[in-house]
Amino acid sequence: MISLRNVNKKYRTQNGYRVVLDNVSLDFPVGKSVGILGLNGAGKSTLIRIIGDAEPPDSGSVHCDQRVSWPLGYSGGFQGNLTARENARFVARIYGESTRYVEEFTQEFSELGEYFDEPLKSYSAGMQGRFAFSVSLACNFEYYLVDEALETGDARYREKFRMAFEERRANASVILVSHNEQTIRRNCDMAAILHEGSLVLYEDLKEALFEYNILQNKPR
């Protein structure tokens, strides 16, 4: 289970501080995939980075007793001037996995072909997304933290990922950040809305989407 306890986070901007997380406490239920909805700039990416321990909160704590992936995004965590193969080896090493297995799985699953030995910076956004997902799938996490990137790649490939996640549903769940309802509906069991510093979890996905619609259409 991942649980947030009294998590605070604010950023300094031109017009003083902007609070992204205001004393947020939340338990993510075991075995459930949770979508996190929020308007642009609500702090969704920051939230997922804090959950994945890529960034420290100002105060409060994040507890977790399972293997959690790094926050998967377009290119976060990878080095552009190294090839996909070299990046895959790096990930395998830091997670203590077999480099050979991770390398082979990633190469096959990402369908990058000859590009697998080209520097990542020569990739399109879609290809980078494919690579990031394939590496993370090779590592067998119990929680996958996903930052929007499911939208990259062509439809056929998206479907392939969805299937892969579906297969792992029994022992893996997803925390997925998106402002896109479709993505959340397809991949999640429930959803939370991040708005003005507070994070509210709705056990009923429909209810969450309904609330989010109201939020989206509210004049600002």
């Binding site: 960034e55 507890h63 977790c64 007793d65 926050p71 965590g77 070299e86 830091i94």
Partner: protein, 276 residues
Amino acid sequence: MNTLSTGIADSSITPGRILAAISTQIRVINALILRETKTRYGNYKIGFLWALIEPLVGVTVFVAIFANLRNDSPSGMPLVPFMLVGFVTYALFRDPWGCMQGAISNSRNLLTFPQVTTFDVIIARGLLEILVSFFVLGFLLYMAHLMGFEVRVERPLGVLLVCLLLCVLGLGMGFLFASLEPLIPSIKQFGTQVMSRPLYFGSGLFFTVDTLPAAVREFLLYNPVLHMIELVRGEFFYEFETSYGSWTYASAWAFTTLAVGLLMHQAVHKSAIVKK
């Protein structure tokens, strides 16, 4: 993985957890060093060659100048090994420092991985530089030997100890600069352009302290690197014993700098601007 860095609900410290944390850290530093090697030397086949060429150029230039300037070798030491020892051991201090100072800003995206810490990315660069410098030292001395120059080491253990002091000082400077760099980016220029030049010329790479005029000598002896280079030559050459290089002064500087560097890292590594 995450359990280590974020702590579990029951976050008591047990020997098992400490061991697991240490093994994770070793794994990460190892991966970072391999990755750094690839980025730095893998893409350019002449990468390792550069590490050899840089000191060779320095040595050649100064050997040429000195050979023409006067015929006697400095304080009785053979000229080429004298220069080699000065220039290459100096790299043990300068290179880790130079490479570590940009570590945090250049590795931002690696910090996305929860088990990769700012400490890891800084130390990995320093360790790689130290390994390369030791390799260069050994290789060039061996080459000098093959070319017929007299290379005999008087006290190998002493040489190693001074080399380690140079590394410690370099690591300390590296940690200090790497920690400050995200907050004050211009500190890098200060290091590479303002500080490194006087150090290059004032650390005894191509002279010994006893050849200096008294006034200059007194002033330059505040420089701990000069002490270390004096010491390393004293340990290395049968012909030379330094009467100026002080072990106490050199070690005090090395370990104080390392402590200050690590404390500085400790002080800033949690601030949002550093780990982001």
